[in-house]
Subunit: 158 residues, 2 copies
């Protein structure tokens, strides 16, 4: 488990890989992004994508699971304060296998929460050909080492 | 269906509402964000949130579905080129009912795709008390009116 003091700008972390099947793409879309180019491969041919593609939010979700299970194990978990940007340079297609690398871009103190820092990270998601399918910059809330025990006293203040 | 020419800066659009249950929160977390504060209400009490809360990505997903089904019906669908920012000012708790409003912030031509424009929108998601739970700024690819018929010829170019 990494605390704020364990992190350095420029450090990089890896995740495992996950395959996204056509069935996964359609099931996600039915729940969260019911558009023809995510639901039906025939209708998708007439869309701007020209083929069935995963919802960008599906790529985000699978990337998030990979990050939670990956090398960057933050004390207190991955608590995202917000997202600075997400780009999807190319679609994720059925059968693609994705994985991610995360680099620490900046570390600063939290003004409102002295026991925490805010860590800016860039997570790049790649497909099985090493092509970038998603670039996300997010801000994570990370406790200082001596804060771990008092987390429970700070309920609901995030 | 709205084309680029039908949109104006400052125009706002609404969505319906959706309730997020504890079961929904846990099911989403198991698939995409398996952290204690999204999985187990007892363990969540010891987390920085102090209670079970929805993954921010779950809030994004439900908001996306509301947007797809809402008043802003764009020709060609909601095709997000990228996200400029997402903030989660407060958590979504089990039983919360969320809905969203979208405002058009900017409209510009696409340099690389002359038949399309890029529309910047801010979608604010509210809980049942009218409190903001998510603020997202995204860029949507929107076809010009005379482009609709030739979409099928531009397969895979987005």
């Amino acid at each position: 488990m990494r605390y704020l003091e364990d992190l350095a700008v420029g450090a990089t972390f890896r995740t495992g890989a996950a395959m996204i099947t056509e069935q996964d793409i359609i099931a996600f879309a039915q729940q969260f992004d019911p558009q023809p180019f995510h639901l039906d491969s025939t209708q998708a041919q007439a869309s701007v994508f020209g083929a069935l593609v995963a919802s960008g939010w599906h790529t985000v979700g699978v990337t998030m699971r990979l990050l939670v299970e990956g090398d960057l194990q933050l004390a207190g978990g991955l608590v995202g304060l917000g997202i600075d940007s997400i780009q999807w340079p190319r679609p994720v297609y059925p059968g693609d296998e994705i994985s991610a690398t995360t680099e620490i871009l900046a570390i600063r103190s939290s003004r409102s929460r002295p026991n925490f820092g805010i860590v800016s990270v860039r997570s790049i998601t790649y497909n099985q050909r090493g092509e970038e399918v998603q670039i996300m910059i997010s801000n994570q809330l990370v406790p200082r080492r001596d804060t771990g025990e008092i987390l429970a006293d700070r309920k609901g203040q995030v």
